[in-house]
Amino acid sequence: MKNFGFVLAAYSIIWGLLAVYLGRLTMRFSQLKKEYQHLKHAHPEGKQ
């Protein structure tokens, strides 16, 4: 299996990059969810 290292490098970069991106999306969503709950409770409905 000549050039195995090149294939391994390419596959690692592809799946690594996609995993980081998906992880980042998940974290960002949780962060926004917390922020939304905080804002909602900080200013409950009816309060002026």
């Binding site: 299996m1 000549k2 050039n3 195995f4 090149f6 294939v7 490098a9 390419a10 596959y11 970069i13 592809i14 990059l17 996609l18 991106y21 998906l22 999306l25 998940t26 960002r28 969503f29 926004l32 969810k33 922020e35 939304y36 804002l39 909602k40 900080a42 200013h43 409950p44 409905e45």
Partner: protein
């Protein structure tokens, strides 16, 4: 207080979960096909296995920019924010897949062509395509979320897509001497099976990532909405 986008925070619907499981299975199955079912290519050898992820990544980038093109037109004709959100989300995913193409290409090229990079038509046009959509993301990042930004982005999304057919046909427009990419790809039946399964898997991956990215964009809009109500 409540935002009209609040429902984005309710749990993933069953279809998205099923898509996630189908994607995991497809990725595993596709990997098995690439590793054991598809034969090693005679001229290039084992390094040709990069092809099964390199070309589907390019397909995903084209698909993502195609979605941007359609959504940008729909946004400019309707001014409905959902099309702008969808276009911006698709650009981000398209840029990631273009980046994968631009990284895996040189890794494949070095052992086969003897060079990491060559300023030949397909590589150069792919780089231009990537830079156009990076400019789109920069425009959005530095100009905020106003309607003017959405309008400019939509125009860039439409104009930028014109480069996609140029990238695809670049191997035919210039003489073979100017190219390093092959003008035709010949594949055996087993290679075709592995390739098309990989292409299908990557298309699923694009859809899944787009759903996740759009969810974040709506969550962002919900928080922004609530902030404006509070102010």
């Amino acid at each position: 207080m409540k935002s009209k986008y609040e429902q984005v925070f309710s749990q993933d619907n069953i279809a998205t979960k099923l898509l996630g499981y189908a994607l995991l299975f497809a990725m595993f199955f596709s990997f098995l096909l690439i590793a054991w079912y598809a034969p090693t290519e005679r001229t290039m050898g084992f390094v040709q296995k990069i092809f099964y992820y390199h070309v589907p990544s390019a397909w995903n980038a084209f698909l993502a920019f195609g979605v941007v093109f359609v959504c940008s037109i729909l946004y400019l004709t309707s001014r409905d924010r959902k099309w702008d959100i969808l276009a911006a989300s698709s650009v981000e995913i398209g840029v990631i897949f273009s980046l994968i193409v631009l990284i895996t290409g040189p890794i494949w090229a070095k052992p086969v062509w003897g060079v990491w990079w060559s300023w030949e038509p397909r590589l150069t046009t792919t780089l231009i395509l990537f830079l156009i959509y990076v400019a789109y993301l920069l425009l959005r990042y530095f100009s905020g979320q106003g309607q003017r930004t959405a309008n400019f982005s939509a125009v860039l999304g439409i104009v930028g897509f014109l480069v996609v057919p140029l990238v695809y046909t670049s191997v035919n427009w210039w003489s073979p001497e100017a190219q390093v990419h092959p003008q035709r790809i010949g594949m055996g039946p087993n290679m075709q099976v592995a390739f098309f399964v990989s292409l299908f898997t990557f298309t699923l991956l694009y859809v899944y990532l787009l759903i996740r990215r759009v969810r974040v964009a709506y969550a962002d809009a919900a928080v922004e909405d609530l902030r404006q109500q509070n102010d």
